[in-house]
Amino acid sequence: MPAFLSRGVFALLVLGGAAASAQSEPSPSLHLGVFTDVSAGYHSAPDALGFAIGAVDLFVTGDLTHGFQALAETTFEADAAGTMGLDVERAQLRWTYSDALSITAGRVHQSLGTYNTAFHHGKYLMTAVDRPRVIAFEDDGGPLPMHLVGLSIAGELHGESLALGYVVEGGNGRGPVPDSVLNSGDLDLSKSINAQLYVLVKPIDLRLGANLLHDFLAPVASGDSARPGFEEWILGGHLLWQHRSTRVTAEVYWLRHLGGPVAATTFGAFAEAEVRTGALTPYLRLETLRSSGTADPFLAPDGPRPDQSIVSVGVRADVASAVALKLQGDVSLVGSTWRGAVIAQAAFSF
């Protein structure tokens, strides 16, 4: 089937119902996009040099009528063994009343800080070659619940020089293991509740905010992932300064698992600074990820993970419309072992 015809058929299937009942509204429209990347990298531990294709991210949004918008993001991604898998990363319906109120239902990226909702699976839009470790996606070993299946209510109240933003989210909690996002029902009655507040200081282009998430993880009685039930608390803070061509982002998280014999804390933070000069954007990122207290039966059932600190320096070159070349060097201290990596990446969208 020709591409234009298949797009048209899809648009009719998705949007036809809304169009029929919206005579006075603008026509629904469909936007398609693909994000992907190719990388070459050297890693010192284990000593390896190789190429990799990133996630092939198929991204569709539909501007419906009466303030509704739909979004679906599906990725094809290789696992460590090179086998390609299919993931529905986001599937959401958003209704926007005004700048002060929008309601989103579906599978969304949770509002923890700013990075997770600003940069998704396509690497073209992010400056560095990958996400900071503390906000890595669940299936990449990240400790935080970056996806939520549920409901999100958000908005910004604008004044002359200040704006106050809020997000309240509720939905299914964590699955039996960290990388399982509960897409079709929860394991218990308790829901994950996350609230974020931030202030925008307009004259200096500064955003400061914090969030608090609470959930109860039901016990898993049997199988490889058997563990006790416990509470999850996530306290986060963030700073975003975007002034002209300079951008500074900093986020910090305390994740606490509490209940019975469990009292485990994971602390993670990162700061990233970039300055765009022409087509080049040099950047610096500092990260740390640490744990303390008892062993965390959820994040590290096989024993405590070593603390890690990473320094990354890189440059991004926007060489053509929607094509970016990146070169990044990492030095990390994992436990007591120093590691290094150099990664070149071509990230693009079409």
Binding site: D63, G67, V108, K202, G278, A322, S349
Partner: protein
């Protein structure tokens, strides 16, 4: 960089308007309730930080293509961003699922003026010398050094 921008502006606008230092006018439809806007509020609209007018109509941005010299002059002078940075911002907002603003690209100021004049929710910019009676000017902007 500033010098080269000014040279580019001068070269590009001499032919279009006869003025060596182009002044740009941010325009809306006369049917839009807004009477005037500050630099800060126009910036918020073009950066999609504000996506609704006071009457709750979603904003429509009408702009030239990225490679038009005056598009660069506008984005540099008002938003301190290169045109491709702005396009990336819109792509990012769409990718976030948070782009309520409608972004329309056109190839000429005549086309831009027609679309803005006909749409009460639209906003765009034209050289001040080319403002037509069918448009309402809400801000005048020098493209010289800020």
């Amino acid at each position: 960089m500033l010098l080269s921008l000014c040279s580019l502006l001068a070269a590009s606008t001499l032919g279009q308007t006869g003025a060596a230092r182009p002044e740009l006018a941010v325009v809306v439809s006369p049917a839009n309730d807004v009477k005037e806007m500050s630099v800060a509020s126009v910036s918020e609209v073009f950066l999609t930080r504000r996506q609704f007018w006071a009457n709750r109509k979603p904003v429509t941005l009408v702009m030239l293509d990225d490679d038009a010299p005056l598009q660069a002059a506008f984005t540099e002078a008002l938003l301190h961003k290169a045109p491709d940075e702005l396009s990336r911002l819109y792509l990012q907002q769409r990718y976030r699922g948070q782009l309520t603003t409608k972004v329309v690209r056109v190839g000429s100021f005549a086309e831009l003026a027609k679309l803005v004049a006909e749409d009460p929710a639209a906003i765009g910019f034209v050289p001040a010398a080319e403002v037509k009676p069918a448009l309402k000017v809400v801000l005048r902007l020098s493209t010289r050094a800020p």
